[in-house]
Amino acid sequence: MLELLFDPSFAASVPRFVTPILLAALGGALCERAGVFNIALEGFLLMGAFAAVVGSYFSGSPWLGALAAMLGGVAMGLVFAEFNLRRGGDPIVVSIAINILAAGLTTYLLRAIFDAMGAFSDPAIAGFGPVSIPGLGWLPVLGPVFGGQSPLFYLALVAVPVASLFFARHRLGLRIRAAGENPAGLVAGGVSPRRVRLYALMGCGALCGLGGAQLSIANVNLFVENMSAGRGWIAVVAVLLTRGRPWPLLLIAFIFGTVDSLSFRVQGLGMPQQFTDMMPYLATLAVLITLSWWRRGRTANGGAP
């Protein structure tokens, strides 16, 4: 097992799995901190992945593909805002509907636009290539992990401290935290919590869109029906576990990403695919259980003032 971890090609594959989860979870963190119970990250991701392929196919540029992915995610965020914030729909109901909407719409549009069933790949889809970081190559584990990845991975890494600073020091970050904790305080100060939450949802959509772009135009160069495959749900769990704090999110995303890529690896070692497919979900459950035990232990000790 250890041998495997030090296998450079394994190490190099970890970021491919970390990036979509991390980006989606950072988006989810915006919602979580703003008091929007958004469990539609799966749908946001999927729409982002699809929009990335559309943008990249028609423009020939992966960057425009990423932009399209962000717009696709923002569009989903606006749908969420319309039905949850403006019309007052229950966030769980709206999330379930959006997840179904994304699944249906991407498959429908895949056939409507590309006339493809199930999957679509074409040389015209321009993907992100690896970015080489000079001077990293000789490091044993860190070298392959942090060198030669897609630009979206580096973006995701930079996004963590930025998000942390945003929540601590930025005007909107402060208001987002207030909207999540005591929105009445915002109302009394003359700021509409609804508007603050709208911004959070839009930001969430953009980040999830980029996560989707990593799936479709950085990891591979194609779109497959339902290609988010539960990663949005894992991001939801990561957000719930960390209560939307960026640095712990980074850690959790790396844990999940490693398990994800590990399961991909051991498949090659002869374990039935069904068992390796299960691993991310079982790992998620295990992390959930461990953390809740740990938290329970802390409250039982009372935590002296």
Binding site: G88, G104, A112, L288, S292, R296
Partner: protein
Amino acid sequence: MRTLRESAVLREAVSWGVALAWIAGVLFLLMALVGAPFGEALSAFLQNAFGGRRLSYLMATLSRAALIAGMAVSVMLSFRAGLFNIGGEGQLVAGGLVAALAALFLPGPPLFVLGASILAAMVAGAGWALLAGLLQLHLGVPLLVGSLLLNYPIRYIASYLVAHPFRDVQSGMVQSHLVPQATWLPYFPGTRLDIGILFIAAASLFAIIYSHFTLHGYHARMNGLSPAFARTVGLPVGKLTLQTLAMSGAIAGLVGAVAVFGVHHRYIDGMLVQPLYAWTGIIAVLLVGMIPWAVPLSGLFFAAIQTGAAGMERSAGVPKEIALVMQAVIILFVASRVSGALVASSERRAGGGEGA
């Protein structure tokens, strides 16, 4: 006062009209995108949902509706008790898998095998639901997350079992052997509709009686309306949670068994997951705001959309995924209206209670 009420009714009607217009608008836009002829598509939709030679399509709709309605009833029991159990899919798969395997390996007269297999399926569904409940009560995993995550392991376990140890290799497909023909549910005379729908009808009847007329149902609903209240007045919340989940899961397991004995006659990999029975069941419950008697009708409605869309695909070239979009958009408009009314009234309450 009367004019006030009349104008409220009018407002209500207008906003429903606007919602319908929006739904229709979205659909026409999508159809225009693929250049489908509207009229043809619409007639194909209706024909396929309710028509067919000797009403064969209607029968297909009903057969699908039975499964969706069954899942809806299962989910409803949980939701009314305030338990966001979205693991219906896993419970359904557990039921279907166990039903097929039990029927393949149990000895005895066919009727006994059928009965025992259905029972085993219900136990399996209940067990899988209980697992999510135990995770919440004893290990602190929120039910919403735990029940969802449990969908995946059982899906893959089932897939493994019918891909390796219990695979019908000759068929070349990832599926189990056929269950003995004598255990197949018979068709209604002169139709192609199996009697599985009767099992679902019985489950629905049970759910309606349970929700409205039993002490357990009353207590579960109090917990659903306000968990803090249920705890405060000393209702056994933990026990209530587990029992309700077990009932929910048992019904999901029953649906899985009906799918095996009535429709597919074996367990095929993905046969219960791909058609999104569980998710459609959830939105069918949400559509009617958890009113017990309306839930089966709502299931029928969504089944009609799905079979209708399949007809549109065949006759007018509209991808059948339009059904998913249609369902999602309907839920967005309808569920947000229903819960919006709830939120508005609770806000008014809070304002009135505080004493301005």
